[in-house]
Amino acid sequence: MPPAAATNLGYTPPDGGWGWAVVFGGFISIGFSYAFPKSLTVYFKEIQEYFSVSYSEIAWVSSVMLASMYAGGPVSSILVNRYGSRPVVLLGGLMVGAAMVLASYGTTIIHLYVCVGLIGGFGLAFNLQPALTIIGTYFQVRRPLANGLAMTGSPVILFILAPLNQFLFDSFGWRGSFLILGSIGLNCCVAGALMRPVGKSIQPKPKTEPPECDAAVAEKAEAVDTTEQSASLQTEKGKSQSRSQSCVHRFIDLSLFTHRGFLIYLIGNVVMFFGFFAPLVFLAPYAKHQGFDDYSSALLLSILALADMFVRPATGFIGNSKWIRPRIQYFFSFAVSYSGVCHLLCPLASGYVGLVVYAVFSGLGFGMVSALLFEVLMDLVGAHRFSTAVGLVTIIECGPVLLGPPISGALVDISGEYKYMYYACGLFMLVPGIFLFIMHYYNYKKLDEEQRQSVAVEMKTSEETVKLQIGLDDKTAHEADR
C-alpha cells in the first residue's frame, strides 16, 4: 500500500480506534436526519383533525422539514469548516429537541410549520453534514466500510422510530409524543459528544508552520502554501484556485463547480433523485391498488427496509475490497443502473410474490445507492473539500427530492395506472447510471493521464534538486580542499 503521504491529509487517519465510536455517532446522527421526517407521518391524521385542515396542508410539515434539511446544507458546511463537526452536531441536537418541545405547545398549523419544519429541519441538517464530514477525517483505508456502516443508521433508526411513534401516540396523544420526541432528538447531542475532532486522537505529522484558517494570518498561510505546493502533487484543474481556497474561500467553495468529478456527480445525482424516493412512497398504494389488504401492503415496505438495512454495511464492505475501491465510481454507477432496471421491471411483477421479489431487489438497490452516495463524493473531491461539496450537493438536490414524489403522484393521477410512474422512475435512474458509467470512464482516463504527467514533473524536479545538491557538495568539497 502506498504511504500515508499519498492521502495528502497531512496526517495518518486512525482508520479505527476512536473512529468506530465516531461511526456510531454518525450512525445516530444520519439515522435521525433521514428517519425523523418519515416517522412523523403517524401523527398526521390526528393533527389534521385537531386543526381541521386538509391532508395536503399537514403533509407540508414533512416537506418543509425535508426542504430545510437540504437547504441547511451550505450553512452547515460553513459552520463545520469554521468550527469543526462537534459543536455543529451539538447545536443541531439542541435545535431538534427545542423544535419538538416548542411544537408540542403549538396552537396553529403555522406554529408546526415553523417549529417542526424550519427549526427541526435545520437541526437535522446540522446533524447530517458534520457526521458525514467527520467520518472522512477519521478513515481513509476503511472509509467505504465506515460510510456504509454509518448510513445503515437510516433504516435502523426508522425501524425503531416507527413503532415507537405509534406507541407514544397511543399513550400520550400528539402533544405528549412531540414532547418526548424532543428528548429523543436530544440524543443527537450524545452523538455529537462522540465526534471528537481527529486532532485530539492522533499526533499530526510534524509540519513546518501549520497555517491557521484565520483572516489575520491568511497572507502568511499563502506564503507557506506556495513554497510547499511546488513540490507536492497537483492534479486538479482548479490548481490556482485551490492554493487560496483553503483560507480566503473558507465560506463557500464555488470553485468546486469547475471540478470535473464533482460536476459529473452533481448532474448524475440531480436526475437520479427525481426517481429515487417515489417508488418507495408509492409501493404500498400500488399494492393496495392491485387488491392486497393494508397489512400486506405495509409488509412490503418492511421487507424493503430489512433488505436495505442488511445491504448497506455489505456494500460498504464490498466497496472497501481491493478490486472495487480503486474504481468505486463504477460500483456506484452500477448500483444506480441496477435500481433503475428494478423499477422498470416492477410492472411485470405479478401477484403478491412478484411484489415481494420486487421489494427485496429494490431494497437492495436503494441500500447500495445510499451507502455509496457520500462515499463516492468523498472519493471525488477529497475529505478536506467534502464538507463544502456535500453542502452544495444537498441544496441542489433539494429540488428533485421534493418534486419527485408529487410529479410521480401526478403521473399516477393522470394515467390512472402505476406502471407509467414505475417506467418513468426506472428511466430517471437508468439514464444517469449509464451517464455516470461513461463519464467516469472518461474521468478515470483523464486522471490517470494527469497522474502520469505530475509524476514525470516530480521526477524532473527531484532530479534537478539532486543535481543541485551534488553541485553544492562538490563546491564545498572543493573549498574544503583548498
Partner: protein
C-alpha cells in the same frame, strides 16, 4: 299457460284470487293474519291460517284450487326483487338463500321500515328422512306457531315467511331451522359504522379534542347524527345547546364532536349515533384526558440520560488528554479547540488530490 300465470304469483294469493273473482270464478275472500303470507298448500287445505268462503259454483272453484295445488307444489321459485303487495303501504323486499352445509349467515341492511320476505331452500339430508321439522327463530327464540312437519320427496324444500320490520325491536337475527340442525341466519341491522378506533383518543386538561365518526362511502348516508356520553350504564345524549362546551359539526357522511376545556372527568366512552328511519347505529369512541405531567416524566428521564452520557463522554476525553499532556507528548490538550480544528482543515487544504489509492 293459465297455471304458469297463476303459479308465478303463487306467493300473492290474495291478488291472484281477486283476479279470479273479477274473471267471474266466484267469491273468494281470504282472511289473513297480519303480516303473514299463507303457503299454497295451507291455503288449499284451508287450515286455521285462513278461511276461504266458497261461492256456489264450487266445482269450478274446486278445479281451480286443485290446479293451484298441483302447480304450487312443484314450484321452486326464487323471487328476487321487490314485488309490492297492494295491501301493505311499506315496500316488500324478498331475500332467498340456498343452504349449503350446516349453517349460513346472510346480512341484510335495513334503512327504513319494510316488509321482508325471507325464503330458505334446503336440498335435503343424506339420510333422506321422509318427515322433517322446520321452524323459524328470532334471536334464539322460536317464533310461535311457526313449526311445521313436512314431507320431503327427493327435492329441495323451500320455506318462506314474511316479517314486518317497523321498529328497532324488529331488527335482529331471524333463522329458518331444518331438523334442529341446519339453519340459515338472516342478520337484520341498520348500516354499521365501519372503521372503529379501538385505542382511546388522548388529550390534555385544558385543551380541546375533536372526535370523529365516519360512515363509509359505499353505505347509505344517515339522515342525521347524534352523540352520547356513557354515564354509568346508560347513555346520555349530548345537546350542544345546553352545554356550550360541546360542539357538534355534522356532514352527510361524517360527524365531529368538539369538547373544549377538558377535565379529567371528561374521560370515558362516547358514542356517535348514525340516525336512520329504522334505528340508530352507535359506534364507541374512547377518550382519555391526562395532565401534562404524564409525558413530562419520560421526557425528564431521557433528558437526564442525555446529560449524563454527554458529561461522561466529555469528562473521559478531558481526563484522557490530561494524561497525554502529563506524559509529555505533543501539547494537543493545551491547544484550544478551534485552533486544532483550523490546523487540521488547513493541512488538508494544502493539496487537492483525489484520493482513490488504498
Amino acid at each position: 299457460m293459465f297455471c304458469s300465470r297463476i303459479v308465478l304469483q303463487c306467493d300473492i294469493m290474495a291478488a291472484s284470487l281477486a283476479q279470479l273473482i273479477e274473471e267471474g270464478w266466484g267469491d273468494y275472500t281470504m282472511q289473513q293474519e297480519e303480516g303473514e303470507k299463507i303457503p299454497c298448500e295451507k291455503a288449499a287445505l284451508g287450515e286455521d291460517r285462513g278461511i276461504i268462503i266458497m261461492s256456489p259454483s264450487w266445482t269450478q272453484l274446486l278445479f281451480q284450487i286443485l290446479l293451484l295445488l298441483v302447480c304450487c307444489r312443484h314450484i321452486n321459485t326464487k323471487t328476487s326483487g321487490a314485488t309490492p303487495s297492494p295491501l301493505a303501504p311499506v315496500p316488500t323486499v324478498a331475500r332467498s338463500v340456498v343452504l349449503k352445509g350446516e349453517s349460513q349467515n346472510e346480512t341484510i341492511e335495513v334503512l327504513n321500515p319494510i316488509k321482508l320476505e325471507l325464503e330458505c331452500t334446503w336440498t335435503g339430508d343424506q339420510d333422506k328422512l321422509p318427515n322433517i321439522t322446520v321452524y323459524w327463530m328470532k334471536d334464539e327464540n322460536e317464533i310461535e306457531n311457526s313449526r311445521l312437519t313436512v314431507q320431503l320427496e327427493n327435492e329441495p324444500y323451500n320455506l318462506k315467511r314474511e316479517f314486518s320490520i317497523e321498529k328497532e325491536e324488529n331488527l335482529g337475527t331471524y333463522s329458518c331451522v331444518f331438523e334442529n340442525v341446519s339453519k340459515i341466519n338472516f342478520i337484520l341491522a341498520a348500516p354499521q359504522i365501519g372503521d372503529v378506533r379501538e385505542k382511546p383518543i388522548v388529550s390534555y386538561v385544558g385543551d380541546y379534542v375533536v372526535m370523529t365518526c365516519k360512515m363509509e362511502e359505499s353505505k347509505p348516508k344517515p339522515s342525521s347524527w347524534n352523540w352520547y356520553k356513557k354515564n354509568g350504564t346508560d347513555e346520555e345524549q349530548i345537546f350542544p345547546a345546553e352545554e356550550p362546551r360541546y360542539k357538534i359539526k355534522n356532514e352527510d357522511e361524517k360527524t365531529k364532536l368538539v369538547v373544549h376545556n377538558l377535565t379529567e372527568a371528561d374521560s370515558g366512552l362516547y358514542y356517535c349515533g348514525a340516525v336512520y328511519a329504522i334505528a340508530t347505529t352507535k359506534s364507541p369512541v374512547k377518550l382519555k384526558v391526562i395532565t401534562y405531567w404524564e409525558p413530562l416524566k419520560p421526557f425528564l428521564a431521557i433528558l437526564a440520560e442525555v446529560i449524563v452520557l454527554v458529561a461522561i463522554i466529555l469528562l473521559c476525553e478531558k481526563s484522557q488528554s490530561k494524561k497525554d499532556g502529563a506524559t509529555g507528548n505533543e501539547t494537543n490538550a493545551d491547544q484550544t479547540y478551534t485552533l486544532t480544528e483550523g490546523e487540521n482543515k488547513d493541512q488538508e487544504g494544502n493539496s487537492s488530490v483525489r484520493q482513490r489509492k488504498v
